[in-house]
Symmetry: C2
Subunit: 551 residues, 2 copies
Amino acid sequence: MLGLMQQRPLLISSLLDYAERYHAGREIVSRSVEGPLHRSNWGTIARRAKQVANLLQRLDVARGERIATLAWNHNRHLEIYFGVTCSGAVLHTVNPRLFPEQVRFIIDDAESSYMFFDVTFAALVEQLAPRLPNVRGYVALCAREAMPSIDVPNLLCYEDLLAAETGDHAWPSFDEDLASALCYTSGTTGNPKGVLQSHRSAVLHSLALMSADTMAISARESLLLCAPLFHVNCWGIPFAAAGTGAKLVLPGMKLDGASLFELIRDEAVTFCGAVPTVWLNLFAWMEANLNTTDQRGLKLRRVLSGGTAVPRVVIEKAHNYFGATMLHAWGMTEMSPLGTCGSLLAQHVGMNLDERMPVHLKQGRTIYGAEVRIVDDDGHELPRDGRSVGEIQVRGPWVLSGYFKGAGGKVVDEDGWFRTGDVAHMDADGFITITDRAKDVIKSGGEWISSIELENLAVSHPAVLEAAVVATRHPRWQERPLLLVHRKQGAEVSKEELLAFLSDKIAKWWLPDDVVFVEELPHTATGKVLKTRLREEYGDWLERPAGTTSR
Amino acid sequence: MLGLMQQRPLLISSLLDYAERYHAGREIVSRSVEGPLHRSNWGTIARRAKQVANLLQRLDVARGERIATLAWNHNRHLEIYFGVTCSGAVLHTVNPRLFPEQVRFIIDDAESSYMFFDVTFAALVEQLAPRLPNVRGYVALCAREAMPSIDVPNLLCYEDLLAAETGDHAWPSFDEDLASALCYTSGTTGNPKGVLQSHRSAVLHSLALMSADTMAISARESLLLCAPLFHVNCWGIPFAAAGTGAKLVLPGMKLDGASLFELIRDEAVTFCGAVPTVWLNLFAWMEANLNTTDQRGLKLRRVLSGGTAVPRVVIEKAHNYFGATMLHAWGMTEMSPLGTCGSLLAQHVGMNLDERMPVHLKQGRTIYGAEVRIVDDDGHELPRDGRSVGEIQVRGPWVLSGYFKGAGGKVVDEDGWFRTGDVAHMDADGFITITDRAKDVIKSGGEWISSIELENLAVSHPAVLEAAVVATRHPRWQERPLLLVHRKQGAEVSKEELLAFLSDKIAKWWLPDDVVFVEELPHTATGKVLKTRLREEYGDWLERPAGTTSR
């Protein structure tokens, strides 16, 4: 017997319609690529999204066609987000920080038909265009006077195009399972693979982000979005923001401490999501440039971080500088990206920061909608005892069923479980602690050593800015940990001091066999330490003649 | 192009699985029908729900079959909620406060095959059983020693039946559009009509209840559920509670002030939903029995009310006695029931209670998922100006498409809009103010007078316990308002004093033509004043000889 409730499809356009109807005046503040702050609102975003939709019609863009963007976080990118998805085309956000060949591969693989790009990427676009046979036109996100002089086929001016379109457009209704957005994983091995979200998955994920146990996005929030719009749709936050009418603050390309602090203060930011590196930069700037009175009246109360383990110092400084509580989250492109979120449980309410710290240091807890389990090498679920380490598997309505064009083959099992490649343990409350990426695991004499735990300890030393621990080959133990350290500017610390600092915090056999001081660590486009490169470079470290610092 | 995300159906079993897996120890506290408090938890509820499912299999209950309950708010009712719906049968909660003939009609119309009943309703069950040909068995919700001696076919003992079943049951997967629950509207005219929820609508509605802009149900809450489980599934809260692992406090049949206060204090209740009458009773008890120190340490911070307009005094006392903020909500059985919810906007944050009061007095604002509009008599949408009065229409994935068995014919138009029969205006932020039920509207000389606004003003007089305003026929103005007043015990107030009290708060032509003092007002099963009966009784009031008080 079927229920007798309305069969209304879950479409992204319903989120935007909500914002337009009830929160039209709620601000969207952007740091423009041109420099100055740009003030818009949901009403204008919705109108211009409809102009984008009319433009796509004029450009003969069919339903399901991919539209690529190479752009920072700002209002134009946001209106393209909605204009493309709500009209039934597929938003294909491309990460401009990847190597040019990866960018080319991704746009070519997606067969995107148009590319909307910030003028800061004009040179890249010009370089790639000759090898992008499917792209029918390149739309520069600027007004006529800012158009770049580059030689690409069918170069178009966004503001001119929009000016020619009306803001009247009735969003079409269609199957909620139709594709809405395509994001490629910034894999460190092999070619990037595409994850194709649907309207259904995007709306359900948005509802999850609104829920009090995750990000609790509401109409009352002023959300500063430091995660790029090209990184899993900025964690899906723009869609949830529309469904609540939250204020958005988009920092453009400027993620430095001064720029972010100005936005947090002037735009009454209440919530900000950013990877740990961004937080560390902000705190360092505040320490160097502010006195305590400058922090009065700030509204930032909740901060979200993830992408990599959040160091204790970030949690402490968020508390001390803003009075903000850390939501430590975990996810990946393959899960839209929300997997776990570190919202507190009843027993944590009323604890002080020190008491809560063990909770904040975990990578969040399982929330409704994203099923998470940890399995051993044979695929059997491990006990949720906070000790048993294995690979994380996830399933749920916003988890992929397969990559775009079948890349990578079958990636979920018959029961829908996707192997994440992250290694962790889980406690009885569902909090996970990531101990490694499966491929970063250090196996010493058959036992696992957590590179992440060692890194977290190392960065808690006051002289350490950033640290990475990688496996190096060892004749007896197969692998041993090597600690790579980027010291803070002007700070002094020796190998012996660091090892002594670690030695009373870990089992003796976890102690790194050596410490290498580096000028900087390589990072992926999303800010993670690029361990593949470090392993290539240092995998033979212990086999080299003593005193050799590079090959 | 279809997205490549997992096709996992939205099923109520996924909510329960979540609670069982991560919040098994989180308490479910019930005031049992037997009297004492009963302490359970989500783990036990889930296990016993599986025993219920196994029992249904043993009883040959097919998928889609309706299972009726006549029961108060307690753990057994809750485990039946999940056991029935998760196994694919349809939960049919029946309101025992209706007239026996209505109860019989509802169970017969639903063709429910089994009835689970509290022993307090044994006499009612015995009275109805001979005229319920479809019911194959009657399960008394008690242990063997408490079994009632009644003469009904196939009388069964719930605890005996459950004891014979294991707690092993793999919840089946099925189409999310299958029916999950059947609730009848307690209409004041005609036969009650059934609203048949689906798993999809129940899960989406649950996600909506978790969202920060509505009830913000989270794992941190201790939820006292005063709305009956037989009233639109207690506003859907039990399902959302499972999806977060919130603590539930179920007050059984005792909604008196002393009993509720004890639960609020001892179970660290953080959130409580109840109709205004329940709040007024609780506050009256607190005023008579407590001194201020008794209120220290209470955790109640958010209260929800609806079903009828919430008087200002309830909002003030919730604030003064608990430090709790009122969420004024509006909905109906036909919308599962969430329509609007009075969560604050950014501009209200930081206001004191007086400044916020105009917001709290409205019946909430439109939230994502339940589309709300106000139309004139020709079906054209009215401006959202906070003045233009018309009928509310709603649509969305948790709004009905039609009543059970087609009762009432076609009730939504081609665009999915359902006519609610509530009359209101809406402001630009989406806040609605209900001015009347369509059928309670008073049309005086072609102009509308809001009976609800007059009632709210009348109850703000310190001597008035409850008030109702109904239309009476008038030779010149067609209709004029009549004020019916139930005075507080021992309080004195005259007709002249009341009219003087009102006269400077309203337009002159709104002033009621007369005031009648009554011993009590008639109520529907859900606590609303039964205006149909008042209109029948007083519709000719102004035509009667002066001094006549009853016919």
